[in-house]
Symmetry: D2
Amino acid sequence: MAGNSFGEIFRITTFGESHGAAIGLVIDGCVAGMPLDLAFIRHQLARRRPGQSSITSQRRESDEFEVLSGLYNGKTTGSPLAFIIRNEDQKPADYDHLKTAFRPSHADFTYFKKYGTRDVAGGGRSSARETAARVIAGAVAMQVLKKSGIKIYAFVSQVGNIMLDKQVTESKVREIDKNAVRCPDKSTAEKMISLIESIRKDGDTIGGVVSGVITRAEAGLGEPVYDKLQADLAKAMMSINAAHGFDYGSGFDGVRMKGSEHNDVFVKRGKKITTLTNRSGGIQGGISNGEDIYFRVAFKPVSTIMKDQQTVDESGKKILIKGKGRHDPCVVPRAVPIVESMAAVVVLDHFLRNKTIQY
Amino acid sequence: MAGNSFGEIFRITTFGESHGAAIGLVIDGCVAGMPLDLAFIRHQLARRRPGQSSITSQRRESDEFEVLSGLYNGKTTGSPLAFIIRNEDQKPADYDHLKTAFRPSHADFTYFKKYGTRDVAGGGRSSARETAARVIAGAVAMQVLKKSGIKIYAFVSQVGNIMLDKQVTESKVREIDKNAVRCPDKSTAEKMISLIESIRKDGDTIGGVVSGVITRAEAGLGEPVYDKLQADLAKAMMSINAAHGFDYGSGFDGVRMKGSEHNDVFVKRGKKITTLTNRSGGIQGGISNGEDIYFRVAFKPVSTIMKDQQTVDESGKKILIKGKGRHDPCVVPRAVPIVESMAAVVVLDHFLRNKTIQY
Amino acid sequence: MAGNSFGEIFRITTFGESHGAAIGLVIDGCVAGMPLDLAFIRHQLARRRPGQSSITSQRRESDEFEVLSGLYNGKTTGSPLAFIIRNEDQKPADYDHLKTAFRPSHADFTYFKKYGTRDVAGGGRSSARETAARVIAGAVAMQVLKKSGIKIYAFVSQVGNIMLDKQVTESKVREIDKNAVRCPDKSTAEKMISLIESIRKDGDTIGGVVSGVITRAEAGLGEPVYDKLQADLAKAMMSINAAHGFDYGSGFDGVRMKGSEHNDVFVKRGKKITTLTNRSGGIQGGISNGEDIYFRVAFKPVSTIMKDQQTVDESGKKILIKGKGRHDPCVVPRAVPIVESMAAVVVLDHFLRNKTIQY
Amino acid sequence: MAGNSFGEIFRITTFGESHGAAIGLVIDGCVAGMPLDLAFIRHQLARRRPGQSSITSQRRESDEFEVLSGLYNGKTTGSPLAFIIRNEDQKPADYDHLKTAFRPSHADFTYFKKYGTRDVAGGGRSSARETAARVIAGAVAMQVLKKSGIKIYAFVSQVGNIMLDKQVTESKVREIDKNAVRCPDKSTAEKMISLIESIRKDGDTIGGVVSGVITRAEAGLGEPVYDKLQADLAKAMMSINAAHGFDYGSGFDGVRMKGSEHNDVFVKRGKKITTLTNRSGGIQGGISNGEDIYFRVAFKPVSTIMKDQQTVDESGKKILIKGKGRHDPCVVPRAVPIVESMAAVVVLDHFLRNKTIQY
C-alpha cells in the first residue's frame, strides 16, 4: 500500500516526478457548491515559488496550474478536484554527473533500494516540487474553513542559532510577509537574512524552524485515540521534505516543567470557558479545546550544497561530487506556506470528521 | 470517522474505557501460522504496569489478558487476534468530587465538548490504561519482526533538566531495565530517580523524554510522500497520552547545523553501502536506509497533581479541586514499553507494505 | 491487508472463530449520546438464532452478549462500542472425522491454502456464527437511522422453485415474522415450509432468495463513482456466508426490457418530485432518489448435508464423509435479519458520509 | 468521505467530468520496475470506444491518453502512475433543452439533490466516459498479473431475451472480438446484433448480460469476512454505470438446487486437488480455490432513448423531452472491456493483499 494520499474525508492524492510531464493533485471529498478563489491559490503558490527573493533558490519553476475537473461555473461540484502543473525548466544534463552517485543525505540511495530506480533529474518523486501540490490543496482547504472562521498562519521562528524570542500574536500576522525570511519581527528577520546570505555565499546551507498557529478552531476537533489532532498534525508536518521534528504547545521545553507550572487553569471569561495559560497548545486529550493551536516544525539544513563532497556510486566506488545548480540555502522561508497548507488539510479533515459523531 | 485504529496492513483497533467492563485490542492482518509467545506479551505488560517501583503510581491495575480469537494450537490463524483485559480496582467514589469539574490540562473539558459526556472515573477513554492494549499489539508485532532480525528498544534520556549525555549503543540495551527509571546510564539514572522522588514527595509531577531505536531494519521501509517512515512514527508517538514532541535523527538540534556538517557521507564497508555519520536517523526521503533509526518523544508533566488547583465546573463556577489517588510523578519510565510498542507496530506495518511494491 | 472491517465512518470490525473463546464486534464511529436499546439487539439476535423453528438447525447456540465498552449510563459515549458473545456448545469431537478432509463446497480447502491452518470445529472463522456480530451491528445502526425515519426490512421471496409473486408493500411488514420461513404471504410461506421440511427429511438442503427494502431514505445517499449505494450494498450482501448473487431494482429481469419500458418517469406529487414506476430500485447514478430501495440476495443451498459425500483429504486420498450434526436445511429464514443488518450498516455509513459533502 | 477511489493496495482514483478539461486516473501502489505496454492500453481503450461498430453509439470520443507520471524509461517507478484523456467533441448546445429537465432514470435528479449542481452536458461525473479511466487501470493491472499467469476475459452472454446457452471454454476466447456484440458464439451473436439493430432503428434501447472469467488464479485470493473475493468483485461490477445485478458461480440459478446437486466434489488430478464441478465459481468461503472464477453482470437498458418522454423540470413542471444525440442502443458490447478491467483491478489488489498474510 503506497502512501501518496492524505486525509480521510478531505482526501488529497498527489502525483508527479521532477522528470515527468507534470505534477498534480486530486482532492476527493471537497464540499460541493463552494465558490473557488483561484487567485488565492496563485497567491499561496507564489509564496512557495523558488526565485522569490535573494535568499531562496534562483531556479525558475513554473507553477501555473490547470484545473482539470471538479469545478463548474466557478463552484466546486462535489466531484474530485484535479489540478496539474506542467514541468518545465528541466535540465537533465545538470544531473549527468550524478547518474550513479548517491548524494549524501538525499533520497537517491533509499529510492534505489526500494524501487530499484534512479530518478536523478531533480530528485524524481522525492523532489520538493511535490509540495506545490500540497500548497494548492491547502489553499482549497483554507477556503472551506473560512466559513467557520478558522484561520491558519505560519512563520519562521528560528534559523540556525537565531531564534525569535517574542510571542507572535495575531496582530503580527501581517508582518510575516514583509520580509524575505517570513519572520514577523523585523530585527530578528534581518539577522536571519544576513545569516542565510552568508551561508549561501559559502556554498553551504542551514536549518530552521517554522511555527504554525491555528486560531478560532472550535472545541471538538481530533479523534482519539490514534487520530488525535496533534498526531495527525505531526504526521502531516513530518511528511514535508526535510522536516526532522515536531512539537506542539509546551513541546520539548515542557519536559523541564512541573505539573503545577504546566497545567492550564480553566476560567470563565464572558460566556466562554477558557484557560489562563495555553501550554496545552489548544489540544487536550487529542481534541481541540477552543484555544489557539500552536506547533513547531524543525527543518534540517538542505542536503544539496555547493561544496565538494565525498560519496560512493552504485558499485560502491568512492567518488567526489561537486555541487551545481540553484538550490535553497535555507528551506524555511518557502516552507511557511507548506506548513500552513498541511495544517489546513488536517484541520479541515478533522472538522468534517467531527460532523459525523454528532447524533 | 473515528480514530481508534492504527496501521494499514497490520491494523490494530483498541476499545475500552476506564469505567467499563474491559479494554481490548483487535489486530487484523497479523501473519498466519506464527507461534505466539504469550509470556513475552506478559513481560512487556509488566514493564508498563503501575506499582512496579517506587517512582510509579502505586495503583494496582490488573493487566491479565484473555485471548478471544485468532490463536489455535499456539499459532496465529490469520484471522483477527482479539485480546481483552478486564477492568478492576475501579473506585468511582474517588472521583465523586470531580463529577462536574474540568481538571486542568485533562481531557474532561474536550471530551465533554466533543461527545457531550463525562467519563470521570479514571478518565474514560482518555485514560492511559488504553496503552496496555498498545503494549500487547507491540509485543505481537515484535515477534513478527524477529524473523527479519529487526529489533526495537527505548529508554529514558531526560527527566526534567537531567539529560543523558552519552550515546546509547546496542550493548547498553541490557542496562535499561536495571533501574526503575529505565535510563541505561547508572549515574544519570540515579539522579533522575532522586529528582522524581523529590517531585513525588512534593505532590508534583515532572516531564521527560523517551528515546527509541530500531536496529537492523532493511533499507526500503516507508511510503513517500505522505506515509514516510518518520511521518508514521511521529503520528504513532504523538498519539500516546502526554506526548508533546517528536523528532528523529538530528531533530531539533539539527536546525543549528550547516549542510556540510549535517550530511551523512556514504562509504562502502565490506559489501554494504553505509554512512559515516547518521544524522539522518536512518531515514532518507522518508525511507529507511539500513542504518539505525532513532528518535525522541517528549512527554509533558502528568496533569494530575496532589496539590490544590483552581478550575471551573460545567456551569463555569470557580471551584478548588484537591489531588487524590495514586498517580505517576513522571510518566517516562512506564512510557518506555509503550514507545517500543508503537514503533514496532509502525515498522511491521511498513515491512508488510514494502512487500507489495516489489514486482 | 486483512478484511474484517466494513464501513468508512460507521466502521464495524468483527473477530472470533467457532473454536475460540468468543466472537465479537467493535463499532468505531457510532454517534455519541444515543440511548442504546439492548432489548432490540436481543430481539434481532433471536431472529437469527438456530433452533428457533422446525426448519432451522436444532443446534443450541448462545448469543447472550456482553457490552465491553462504549456505553455509559445507557448512552453511547462516542468511543468504540465493543460486544462479545462467548462460545459454548462446542463439540470438537463431532468434527474428529473431518480433521483432514476437505468438505465439498466448504471453506476448509481455501482456508488451508491461504492460512495453512485448519479450523475444523464449526468452521473456524468461516462459520456463520460470525453473522451474530453483524446482527448486533445492524441493530445498533437501525437505532441511529430511526431518528431520520429510515426503515429497513427483509423477507424470503424464494425457496427452491417456489417464488413469492406478489409485491410486498410496507403494510405487509408485520406479516414477515408470522411464519417460520419469513415470507409475508401466508400461502407461499406454507409451500416454502413444506418444501424445506421435505428437503430436511431427505438429509439435503435447498437455496433461496432474501429480498430487502429500505424505505424513507433521503435522496443523496451514495458516493460515485466507486462507492455507489448499490455497489456498497452489493459488497455487504455478497460478504454474507452462502450469498451467490445480488441485484437491485429491475435487476437481472431488467435485462430483457427496453429503455422505453424501463425508464422511471418523474412526476410531481404534492411538493415532492417522485417517479411513476421504480425500476431504478430507488437508486440513480449510484445515489438514492428518495424512492424505496429494494434488492435481492441469492443464497446457495447449504453445503453441509446429511448424506454421504466423496472427497479427498489433505494428502489427496479419496475418502467418504458422512453428514453429522445439526445444520440448516435452508439458510434464508435466518438470513433475513442478517440482510437487514448489513443494509442498515451500509445505509447509516452513507448517511454519515453524505453529511460531509455539504458546504 | 467521497468515493472516487477503489482498491486497497493497488489503489485507483479517477477524476473528471464530461464538461471539464479532462478525465484522469491515478494509480497508487503499482509495482515498481515493470515495463508498461502502452499499446496494450490503447488496444483495450479501442474496445471500449464509441463508434467502433454499427451497434454502438456513433459519437466520436477521443481517448488518447497522456502519461503524466510514474513511468521512466518505459518502466513503472513505484510512484503514482497518472494518466489523463482530454475532453473534446463537447456540444453543450445539444443539451440546452435539458438544462432544467430531469431525464428519466438518469443521474440528473440525484446529483442535483446531493450536490446542488447540474452537470448536464454529457452527464458530468455520471458520464460513462469515466469508464475509460477504468479501462486504463485494468490494462495496467492485467500486465502486472501476467507474470503470475492470471488471465481475465469477458463476453456478452445475453441481450434482451437472447441468451448464449453454451459453455465458453478458454479456447473460445479468441472468438469474442470476432463480432460486434462480443459474443463468442457466432449464431447467437448474429441474433443479438440483429436485435440491437432493430431496437436502435426504433429509437429504443435494450439490456444485456456480460459474463466474466478469471483463469489460473492461485488459491488463496480473498480476505474474509468482509472483503471476500466475490464481495469485492460484486462491488467493482455494481459500480459500473447501468449495472443492476451480479452473481457468481451458480448464482441466482443455484437457488433452485439441492446441496447434494450443488456441492463440488474434491478430487486429485495429477498433483493438484481440484473439483469435479465448479458451481462455487472458483470461490469458497470468500477465497479463490484455484478453479476458474466466473461471474455475470446484468445491465439495464440505456436510459437515453430517441423517443419523446414525459418528465418534470426543477420546478416540478411537466415537460416533454425529445431524444437527441448519438447513444448506445445496448451497452454490453462496450461494457466487455470495462468488466474485464474492474475484474483485473480486484484480482491484482487481492493478489497483493494475499502476499502480506504470509509469515
